[in-house]
């Protein structure tokens, strides 16, 4: 029957020796080399990594984390979510609320709360003064929304296209909800003007570097977690659900539980990404929940290759890198490029960049 095995053993089996070498090398690069190059080289050195690049990469890492989360649910389980922007933003808002507390002098409240006609913090703001409460909520808030929404959606067997459309409605409705000033989260402006986190100034380059490293650690750990999930039997059940859900049911598995589990994990990872993203960006507002953002997330995964965790990371990096470059260099072209990318990937790269090799060799075989 079920064999108990040491966790470390199981972990070691996630990758081949070569695989682990690559993972550790990348981790070392992000956690040791980048900080060194940033801290100890002068700007005129060719290898110097400027502060802005560190922050930019830190943000990309957060977005890569979102791609990872989306891949788990879409790539492996076959459930396309167009609402992950909502979970990302919720994580961001949770962190933003804590940062807003930090920026206000004692006894003062931000203007958007004054708009509500009150002169103290509403109850749902109060506990976010505590960092640890916030840290827990970063996972719990998106997780809870995902759990409730997922339970109802999966229970009534909404899936495929319908599920995609309903998640889109979810993020759209959340966006409208957060846009309202009456909701009490800063309305259209959102939360901004952050200053301190745990006593460190979020505007300092050094803090930014630490945030970058934290993001790298988050991506690494999340990657391992996802890898752990998808290489387990649970992962195979997920793939089975993607291929033939009713067969899974007739085999005796309850897909509801599996889907709900992976859906909630995915939402929590998004929340974490949002929470790390916000102090590096300095603002969170309902625009993050715009349906377009969530759809763009899908293209990160599609470009990289669905059903491969590395693909999701590669895709997020590529698209966001392109975006940064093109919106600066040829602003008018960006939407053409992005649109073209959507079409090209779906038509010519159904398995994404990671499937390219397979696609080529597969073709030559035939």
């Amino acid at each position: 029957m079920l064999m108990r095995q040491p966790f470390v053993m199981r972990l070691a089996r996630l990758h081949s020796g070569f695989g682990w070498a690559v993972v550790l090398l990348l981790a070392a690069f992000a956690l040791v080399v980048v900080p060194l190059l940033n801290q100890f080289l002068t700007p005129d050195s060719a290898l110097y990594i400027p502060d802005w690049l560190v922050t930019l990469t830190g943000r990309f890492l957060c977005l890569a984390l979102v791609a990872l989360a989306l891949d788990l649910i879409w790539g492996y389980t076959g459930i396309l979510s167009l609402g992950h922007g909502a979970f990302f933003a919720l994580g961001g808002y949770v962190m933003g609320m804590h940062l807003t507390h930090n920026r206000m002098e004692a006894g003062t409240i931000p203007n958007f709360i004054q708009f509500l006609g009150r002169d103290d913090w509403p109850w749902f703001w109060v506990p976010f003064q505590s960092f640890w409460f916030t840290a827990v909520m970063v996972f719990l808030v998106p997780g809870a929304l995902a759990l409730v929404f997922g339970f109802f959606a999966f229970r009534s067997r909404v899936r495929g296209v319908y599920f995609a459309i309903i998640t889109q409605a979810l993020t759209f409705a959340s966006m409208l909800f957060f846009y309202r000033t009456e909701t009490g989260f800063g309305g259209n402006t959102g939360l901004t003007d952050f200053r301190e986190l745990l006593g460190f100034s979020v505007r300092e380059a050094d803090t930014r570097l630490v945030l970058f490293m934290l993001s790298a650690v988050a991506v690494l750990l999340s990657y391992l977690l996802c890898r752990y999930i998808v290489t387990s039997k649970l992962g195979r059940v997920l793939v089975a659900i993607r291929d033939a859900e009713s067969r899974v049911r007739f085999t005796g598995y309850n897909p509801l539980r599996y889907k709900l589990f992976v859906w909630t994990v995915s939402a929590m990872l998004c929340g974490l990404a949002g929470a790390l993203y916000v102090p590096q960006t300095g603002v969170i507002n309902p625009g993050e929940m715009a349906p377009a953002n969530s759809i763009e997330m899908a293209v990160w995964v599609a470009l990289g290759g669905r059903g491969t965790l590395v693909g999701a990371l590669v895709g997020a990096g590529t698209v966001n890198g392109l975006k940064t470059w093109i919106t600066a260099a040829y602003p008018d072209l960006w939407l053409f490029v992005l649109g073209g990318l959507f079409i090209a990937v779906t038509l010519f790269l159904p398995k994404g960049v990671m499937g390219l090799r397979e696609q080529i060799t597969g073709r030559s075989k035939q």
Binding site: F152, A164, F172, A244, E245, F342
Partner: protein
């Protein structure tokens, strides 16, 4: 289950009946008549005086100033004078067509010819426009001028003019005019003008010292049942500091109370009907926006995220047709909208066919990927529009026959364009229904959508049918765009606002069921308008989304589920 949905259908049908009935009350026809009269009156505005007599001239002369107090004084003096010959001057002043030059001459511009005439003599004057100034005009001054114009119009021989004047006075009676109005009433023969004059006089007589007169006034007002006079009646019901009623006469109070009740009941009805009609109007907009999608998504199962952009292209085609008419056939300009309908259909259908041939046909087996590809198309279409037409909105003017409004009852009016949109929505639905159920194409479409292999075996080219269906769906979206161009702004992002709503309509109505989309669109519109006063516009919308998500729990297949043995399996 099936029975339930038909019950639902009947319920919606019943809800819509009162709206149609209201549209036929004679309230409307009376007001329409009024509007026509007002129109005629406008056209008959005199654009120059016939020369002013001494006293009038000496007052009008003083208009050559930009001191607003002085102008106010002039208006007051003209009121005291009450000389009909000054009417053109007052109208010119109110419409900003009155000028004075450096020599202090007061001039009136004829908007049709661009000529100027001297207000005092009525003769055409040679002036250079750069030397002209305008007397200061504010809304406060206009508020004085309007009743004066109304009063002067009552001296006219023309019934329409008198009617316009009486209408103005019934709206804004001035206490100083009471005596003169009573004189005029004695001479008036036209019943409509007489009725309006009675209202004006009644409103002034609420303060009369004779309780008989007050009672009579309240009765007249009660008959009009206008909400405008509610506050005046309410004053009668007030009590002073000692708790004594302001109105000493009990009979008057009684009459006022009755009148108030009538007015309030009417207001409640108006509010209910207003919500219903506005809801239908919003629903028909949703319907037009979603109908194309109901075909493309509903029948073909293609998740067309570029649907919003098809709407946008329809709207821009309307814009182009408008410009074409302005340049090529200005005399037919007011009919450009009619020409825009087929044009928009053809243009968007072509774009749709291009999309289908170029991208979508390769993706029929992969629905989620069509979603991504069409989203890509939508970005490209949007940016292309931006490059061609600029990021700014373009101006699509409503033709004259399409602007203005229709009053359904007092307090409930709907703009002509919205009425038009409702009618257009039903026209398009009928058209789609006809094509789908009464034509060979419709038959083939239904055959292919139900069983592709079987249809192919029967000699129907599924490939070709896909193309035409997509084209037709896109074309219908284009028609939606024409309608939207008349009520919202036309810009590159036009479609983005409708995409989520459209999908909700189709999903709620039941995918594959066009009738379902009709009911869900109208239902959503009405529901949200009833919710709006309670919850506010945004919360109403959020609640609606939540309701839809919950509803889909209960009936995943939408209102009109297509049930069959071929269930939901993958």
């Amino acid at each position: 289950m099936r029975g339930l949905s038909w019950k639902g259908a009947i319920l919606w049908g019943l809800l819509m009946v009162p709206a149609v009935v209201v549209a036929n009350t004679d309230d409307m026809s009376a007001d329409e008549r009024a509007e026509k009269l007002a129109e005629q009156q406008k056209n008959q505005t005199q654009t120059r005086t016939e020369g002013l007599s001494g006293e009038a001239a000496s007052i009008v002369e003083r208009l050559a100033t930009d001191d607003w107090q002085a102008i106010n004084d002039v208006v007051e003096d003209l009121e005291a004078l009450a000389a009909p010959e000054t009417l053109p001057v007052l109208q010119a002043l109110s419409d900003r067509r009155l000028y004075f030059d450096e020599r202090g001459r007061v001039l009136i511009e004829d908007p049709a010819t661009g000529e100027y005439s001297d207000a005092l003599t009525g003769e055409t004057a040679e002036v250079s426009p750069e030397n002209l100034s305008q007397p200061t005009l504010t809304n406060a001054i206009r508020r004085g001028i309007r009743p004066l114009i109304g009063q002067l119009q009552l001296f006219s021989d023309d019934v329409a003019t008198r009617r316009a004047g009486a209408e103005e006075l019934a709206d804004r009676p001035r206490p100083e005019m009471l005596g003169r109005l009573q004189e005029l009433r004695a001479e008036e023969s036209n019943p409509e003008v007489l009725r309006l004059l009675n209202i004006a006089i009644a409103r002034l007589q609420l303060d009369a010292s004779d309780p008989e007169e007050r009672l009579e006034a309240v009765e007249v007002i009660a008959e009009v049942r206008s909400a405008r006079m509610k506050s005046e009646l309410e004053t009668l019901m007030e009590t002073d500091a000692q708790g004594d009623p302001v109105e000493p006469d009990a009979a008057v109070r009684e009459a006022a109370r009755d009148a108030l009740e009538v007015i309030e009941a009417r207001q409640r009805t108006a509010r209910f009907l207003g919500d219903l009609v506005y809801g239908l109007s919003m629903g028909s907009v949703l319907l037009l926006a979603a109908l194309g999608l109901a075909i493309i998504f509903g029948l073909m199962r293609v998740i067309n995220m570029a649907h919003g952009e098809l709407l946008m292209i329809g709207a821009y085609t309307t814009f182009m047709v408008q410009n074409l008419f302005a340049v090529m056939a200005p005399q037919w300009f007011s009919f450009y909208l009619l020409a825009a309908i087929p044009a928009a259909f053809v243009v968007t259908a072509l774009v749709g066919i291009l999309m289908e041939r170029g991208v979508i046909r390769f993706l029929y087996a992969r629905p989620l990927e069509t979603l991504l590809a069409t989203w890509g198309i939508s970005l490209i279409l949007m940016q292309t529009t931006r490059v061609i037409f600029g990021a700014q909105n373009v101006r699509v003017a409503s033709p004259e026959w399409f602007s203005g409004s229709v009053q359904l009852m007092q307090g409930v009016s709907l703009s002509t364009s919205r009425v038009g949109v409702i009618a257009f929505a039903f026209f398009v639905v009928a058209l789609v229904w006809f094509v789908m159920n009464r034509t060979r194409l419709g038959l083939e479409v239904r055959a292919v959508m139900q069983n592709r292999e079987m249809a192919a075996a029967l000699g129907v080219s599924a490939n070709r049918v896909d193309m035409w269906t997509f084209g037709a769906g896109a074309g219908v979206a284009g028609l939606g765009g024409v309608a939207l161009s008349q009520i919202v702004n036309v810009g590159p992002e036009l479609g983005q606002n409708y995409i989520v709503d459209s999908f909700m309509v189709v999903v709620l109505g039941g995918v594959g069921n066009i009738l379902g989309s009709v009911f869900s669109a109208l239902g959503l519109g009405v529901f949200s308008k009833f919710l709006e006063p309670v919850a506010g516009a945004v919360l109403a919308k959020i609640l609606l989304f939540v309701a839809i998500i919950v509803f889909i729990q209960w009936r995943p297949q939408g209102i009109f589920a297509l049930k069959g043995r071929a269930g939901d399996d993958d």
